[in-house]
């Protein structure tokens, strides 16, 4: 009997001990940039010469592009290469983790490249230095002139592995390049990589171009241009350079934009003094009227599932943001703050709508949830508008103009980007003044 009692007491005590495990809830962390070491890629000795590319420098160039990408996010802090102790070739085989931890790095990127038979082969490894283990390793083969894209793809893979979010480095931004005095601006269509490299001009500047927008599924662009003072909507294939007119629309046409499946263009145009929203099927060229209201409805943008549309309307007096079903039913006003709201754009993630707000003579770029709640103004300035989402819904790119003197001097228009948290606001360097940016989807899907 005593024995059983003893066992019972022991079991009871154990049970108690098991349940007295200390638990500590950690609900906050820091948003400091993650210290990351990007080791220069080791160049294989067997590499052959390729055109004008200095192969010896390619390893450093690729790692520099990766570093620049990381720095631009505000989420990573690439460490100074002078502090690196281990050589790139040895680090790529097996890093001495303690050496890298000494310089406070938490992650390490190593890699090597080889050019053979006119092909560039790049492999990289991402190491978790705290856990002393490899996190991911991949290899890519392409033409050597494509090395910048390889650097962007590697950046995307690392970004995704460390943040849990799709990257946005292997993308382009199309915008309207502006030159000349304010009263006589020459506007061309231009495209560049998201980091400002590889700028190309797509039009000559003879005609006024406006509101270029990327197709979310491919490299097609729609934009507006004035031909003999008549607005036309164009389609341009970036890869082939082929351009076609979608249609001549009577009256004023505004802000053509693709549907999420890329099969339709949604826009607004004014007919008989009333502006409404229309969609047009790209294949059949069938035009469908979506809104039927006496007010001015403009700037339509589809939700990523294609079921809803957000747009501007002044049906309640001042210009506000509304949502409706894709067929035009169930119209709801979602913005109720003081001021005028414009250019609503639905996030690719579907959770937020970005907008421009004008209040007390200032312009704001902000976001709100798709039901209108949680409005947050991210940035304030003299004049700024036209937000466009990065493909992962993390960043917004927009343009900002400065106040000019009476004679038009001092006027500039520049592209800026900002994180949806309101941090990391920075200028995107462009060769000329720039406006109306639109971010492409990932080139490598």
């Amino acid at each position: 009997m005593k024995f059983f009692l003893y066992i019972f007491v022991v079991i009871f005590l154990k049970f108690n001990v098991a349940h007295s495990l200390i638990e500590v809830d950690i609900t906050r962390g820091n948003l400091d940039p993650l210290p990351i070491a990007v080791s220069p890629l080791h160049v294989d000795v067997e590499s052959e010469k390729y055109e004008n590319i200095k192969i010896k420098e390619l390893g450093i160039l690729i790692s520099s592009v990766i570093e620049k990408n990381f720095k631009s996010t505000g989420l990573f802090n690439p460490l100074n290469k002078d502090a690196f102790i281990q050589k790139p070739d040895i680090a790529h085989l097996k890093p001495r983790f303690e050496d890298w931890r000494l310089i406070t790095a938490q992650a390490l990127v190593t890699g090597k490249l080889l050019i053979k038979d006119n092909k560039l082969k790049v492999e990289f490894r991402l190491w978790d230095l705290a856990a002393s283990q490899e996190m991911t390793a991949l290899a890519f083969t392409t033409t050597p002139s494509n090395w910048r894209r390889v650097a962007h793809i590697i950046s995307d893979k690392i970004y995704e592995r460390l943040t849990g979010e799709t990257g946005y480095f292997d993308t382009r931004i199309i915008y309207v390049s502006e030159t000349g005095p304010k009263t006589q601006r020459v506007k061309k269509l231009a495209i560049m990589d998201q980091d400002g490299a590889n700028t190309k001009y797509l039009t000559l500047g003879n005609e006024l171009v406006l509101t270029p927008r990327f197709n979310p599924t491919n490299q097609l662009v729609t934009y507006m241009s004035y031909f003999r003072n008549l607005p036309r909507v164009y389609l341009l294939d970036i890869e082939t350079g082929i351009q076609e007119v979608v249609g001549n629309f009577p009256g004023m046409t505004f802000a053509p934009r693709f549907s999420p499946d890329g099969k339709k263009i949604i826009m607004s145009f004014a007919k008989d003094g009333n502006s409404d929203i229309y969609t047009m099927d790209i294949e059949t060229r069938l035009v469908e009227k979506i809104t039927e209201d006496s007010s001015i409805d403009t700037s339509p943008s589809f939700s990523p599932d294609g079921k809803y549309i957000c747009f501007n309307s002044d049906r309640s007096g001042l210009q506000q943001i509304y949502t409706m079903r894709a067929d035009g039913s169930n119209v709801k006003r979602i913005s109720f703050g003081n001021g005028i709201y414009g250019t609503p754009v639905w996030s690719p993630r579907g959770d937020l709508i970005a907008f421009t707000k004008m209040k007390s003579g200032k312009f704001y770029i902000g976001v709100m949830r798709s039901d209108g709640t949680g409005e947050r103004l991210l940035t304030e300035n003299y004049y700024q508008e036209a937000p466009s989402w990065s493909p992962n819904g993390r960043l917004l790119v927009f343009y900002r103009e400065t106040k000019s003197g009476k004679d038009g001097t001092g006027f500039t228009a520049k592209l800026w980007s900002i994180d949806i948290t309101g941090y990391n606001e920075r200028e995107l360097k462009t060769e000329t003044d720039a406006s109306d940016p639109s971010w492409s989807s990932l080139l490598s899907k």
């Binding site: 495990l21 638990e23 950690i26 962390g29 856990a131 849990g164």
Partner: protein, 277 residues
Amino acid sequence: MTKSLIYSLAFHVSMILLTVLSLPFMIREPVDLPPIISVELIQISDKTNIPYAPKARKVIEKVKEKEKEKEKEKEKERVVSEQAPPSAKAKEKPDRIPLPKKQDEKKELVKKKQNPKEVKPEIRQASEFEKKEIIDTNQIAALIDKAKEESAEVEKIEKKLTQSSVKNSFAKGLTLSEEDALRAQIFGCWTVPLGLPYDVDLLVRIKLELKQDGTISKSEILDHERMNRPGQKFYKVLAESALRAVRICQPLRVPQTGYDKWKTIQLNFNPTEMLKG
């Protein structure tokens, strides 16, 4: 007939007016209820860790000595007059280490007290610094007895409170300040991945086995199978970031005493609030 009707009406109207104006409840305004304020229940350790300033320490020591003397005198007086409750002996645990006779006697004496005022608040709110000085071999019995009272109080509190914060209470081994120190240390080391969806369950539970110096001898992600499930890529990123934080932070800020209580510890990482902003 009409005259009497008019008189009657006038009389009734005047009566109604008089009633309305003179009786206070007829013109009383509706009660203006104050707005409901939500109150968060926070468990507070019964002992502070803030050390006293050297000057204050001396003063406290003097006061304490005087009080002790007074107490002893009072006890002697009271013991004579008090009667021990019959149930007091039955409550004693049989597995307790037998104490020396003298101490046993003292213990009984303290137990027998019926006056609640005799549990001195100064002793109960003593700091860690003071505690060392208070411990006196002659008063072990009193301390044991006090521990009993404390545990009983804690049990009562635990039964009453239903909030989730209770699981982190000092009753489990760490005081609030110790827990806060540990939490603050990990806050600084944990870089939260920002690309996480905040409308899903983001709780990562990590069980740690610690050495006495606070370094980690073993770490385990309790829901590690979720990391490899399809569509749970973000969870893997989150779990890895949490584990990285713990490793970077080591040695963890743990108390210098009570190793048995905290040698195994569970950290629950949940960035939902932070991501929602």
